[in-house]
Structures are given as C-alpha cells and as structure tokens.
C-alpha cells in the first residue's frame, strides 16, 4: 500500500468523509459558476395572496422567481411540483431558482395560509 493512501486513512474518520464530500461539492460548484443568470419573474405576497396568481414561463429553461412579502408575518413559498420551499420573512424578500420545467401546470402555495395563498406556474 502506498504511503499516501495510508496517511489519508489515518485521518480522523469525520475528516475523511468531509474531505470526500467537499471535493465533490467543489467540483459541482465550479461547474455551476459557469451558468448564467436566468430570467426573473416578480411575485408579490399581499394579504396572504399571491400576485400574480398565474405565472407563465418558457418550458425547459431555468427561471428565477423573486418573491416580495408585503405582509407583516412570514410565509412559506412551497411547491412539491416545483420542488421548491422557502420561508420569506414578513416585509422580506427572497429568490427561488426553478428547475427547467416540462410544459404543464405546477401549483404552488403559501403553506402558512393555504386557504388563500394559491398560485400556479404554467410552463409553455
């Protein structure tokens, strides 16, 4: 067995796992850095409702949704169809990057006020 292989194994176990994971992450981060900024769509949360309630996006392209919460309390932008979940604090804002979507309708909701906070992303 070579000397290098032995010395890696002599590292504390936690460090070994961390090293492996970090290398993988760093590689992916490097690739991701090449990606350009996708087009953005504005979404407002007001009185526990989304405006606009229907967002149309081009299919098979990454899109960013910039969410502004005009209410005083937090809301969780949640969509299992879009695979997105994010808490937007009261009077706060945040962005979510959507994956490229096949044509279709993708409902989303405000998990803390499901009764009124409903919307849909339509990919065309």
């Amino acid at each position: 067995m070579s000397k290098t292989l032995l010395s890696f194994r002599e590292l504390p176990r936690g460090l070994q796992s961390a090293a492996l994971l970090s290398v993988c992450l760093a590689a992916f981060a490097a690739f991701a850095a090449w990606a350009e900024d996708p087009p953005g769509v504005e979404l407002r949360i007001e009185n526990h409702r989304f405006t606009p309630a229907e967002i149309v996006v081009p299919a098979h392209q990454p899109v960013v949704i910039h969410i502004k919460n005009l209410d005083a309390t937090a809301e969780e932008f949640d969509s299992s169809a879009l695979k997105v979940e994010k808490v937007i604090a009261g009077h706060g804002e945040g962005s979510v990057h959507l994956r490229p979507l096949a044509p279709g309708r993708y409902p989303f909701k405000g998990e803390y006020h499901e009764a009124t906070a409903q919307g849909v992303v339509v990919a065309k």
Binding site: Q16, C24, F28, A35, P38, T73, K83, E85, K86, G94
Partner: protein
C-alpha cells in the same frame, strides 16, 4: 386549531422519525437518553432563535442565503451520520458495547452517540423553525385564539412524538443480532436522502444549476406530498421527480459510507490479526 395541528404534525414527523432511528441505533448505550434530549433541546432553542431573528437573517442572506444555510446543515448531518457508521465499523459493535458497559474509554465510546445527538438537533432545528414561524404568523394574524394555536401545536407535536415512539418500538422488535445491521443501513439511507435534499436546496439557490432536469415522475406511484410519501422521503430519501444531481449525491453518499466503513473494518481486522499473531509468536 386543526390547521395548526396538521401543519405542525407534517413538519414534526420528519424529526420524529430521525429521533426514533437514533434511539434504536444507540440502544443499550449508557447516557444516550441525555444526549438525545440535549440534541432536541438545542434544536428547539436554535429554531426559536432562527425564527426570532428571521428578519435580520433574511436581510443578511438577501436572495439565496437561506438555501445555503439549509444545504450546509444538511451536509453537516450527512457527515455526522457517515462518521457514526464508520466509527461503528472500525471499533466493532461488540467491543463498543463492552467499552460503554465497563465505562472504560467513556468519551471515546460516547462520540458516535454525540454525533447522532447533533443530527437530532439539526433535524429539530430545521423542522422547528418552520413550526415556530407558522404558529407565530397565525398568532399575529389574530384569527385563532392563542389557546387554539397552542392546542393545535401541542397536538401536532404529540403526533410527532408518537411517530418517534412507533419507529423506535418497531425497530426494537428486530432481533438483537440484526438490529445494528438494520440501523446501520437506515442511517446510511437517512444520510443519502439528506444529501439529495441538500442538492435541491443548492439548486433552488442557484448554486448548482447542472443536471437539474427531472429524470422520471413517479407521482402516480407515490406522491412525495402525501403522508406516506413524506415518511419515505425521510427514511430512504424518496422523491417523485429526482434530477441527475440528486441521484448522483444519493448514490455517492451510499457508496462513500459503505466503502469507507468496509475499508476501515478490514484494516481494523488486519490490525487485530497482527496483534494476535504477535502475541502468539512474540
């Protein structure tokens, strides 16, 4: 009140499953109840702090800092779960139990349990912060009485505790000889699922915009959103529309943990054989 109970329960079952697995995996270890309780307590404290300072944190994390934070703590949990399994492989389960029973090398024997305790803390922190924010939001809106919110939250929490107890009792029904192998695999799958989830957060934050197209859709089979789907999501990392990067992270985690555990166990056995040979012929 029902709404508060349902949403609290949905968030809490994930943490409940992890607590159940951790308790079963550390079954027989002296003092593990204290470690797990400490993990839960710290998680709750962290969740309350996170929710209280959500506004300030949001300003600091403008745009996509929240996703980075979520991915980071998930990956920290993955590392700790991996560490636990690899430690168990290197020290041998029987020897580990012996050490703990005799009280010898107490700190060395407690380390894997502390790792699990921190994983519990992370899970409680993640789910707890959502619950706190949600309940605070209802309270601020004033639609439901304070008692109603508290009652709903407590009911939801009780449901989560029930899930943890069921998981624990269910695992303990497994014959003792097989229990550690089973919990070992559950921990590996837990870690793989968390790695996959971390990838979703990184992609949501725009940090990993590669291999992001969903590869298949199994919502017809099991929707991730359903109660059963959420259980599967936590236990084995099930997702109904995985993308390439998620699958890569999932597979890499399983591979890394099993390979490292095997390598470590093999080198440990070789060392033991050497010692035995030396003592015989030395």
């Amino acid at each position: 009140m029902l709404g508060a109970a349902v949403i609290t329960f949905r968030e809490v079952i994930e943490a409940g499953l992890i607590v159940g697995i951790v308790l079963a995996a550390s079954h027989g270890v002296v003092g593990r109840g204290r470690v797990v309780s400490a993990g839960i307590a710290l998680g709750v404290l962290g969740a309350a702090l996170l929710a209280a300072f959500a506004d300030q944190l949001n300003a600091a994390f403008v745009g996509s800092g929240q996703e980075l934070f979520q991915a980071a703590i998930l990956l920290a949990a993955v590392v700790m779960l991996a560490w636990h399994n690899i430690w168990m492989a290197s020290h041998g389960r029987a020897m580990a139990r012996e050490m703990r029973a005799l009280g010898t090398d107490v700190s060395e024997g407690r380390r894997p349990v502390r790792m699990l305790g921190m994983v519990v803390g992370i899970a409680v922190l993640r789910e707890g912060s959502e619950v706190v924010l949600f309940l605070y939001g209802i309270a601020a809106a004033g639609g439901v009485s304070g008692l109603g919110i508290l009652g709903g939250g407590v009911i939801g929490l009780a449901g989560g505790v029930l899930v943890a107890a069921l998981m624990y009792r269910g695992l303990l029904a497994i014959p003792a000889g097989r229990l550690f192998a089973v919990t070992g695999w559950l921990i590996t799958l837990l870690a793989a699922g968390m790695a996959s989830q971390a990838v979703v957060f990184l992609q949501q934050g725009g940090y990993a915009a590669i291999l992001a197209e969903p590869l298949w859709d199994t919502r017809w089979l099991l929707a991730e959103d359903s109660i059963l789907g959420r259980l599967a999501h936590t236990l084995v990392g099930y997702t109904d529309q995985p993308d390439g990067l998620q699958l890569l992270a999932y597979g890499a985690t399983i591979l890394a943990i099993t390979m490292l555990a095997r390598t470590v166990r093999a080198s440990h056995q070789r060392a033991q054989a050497r010692l035995a040979a030396e003592s015989r012929f030395g």
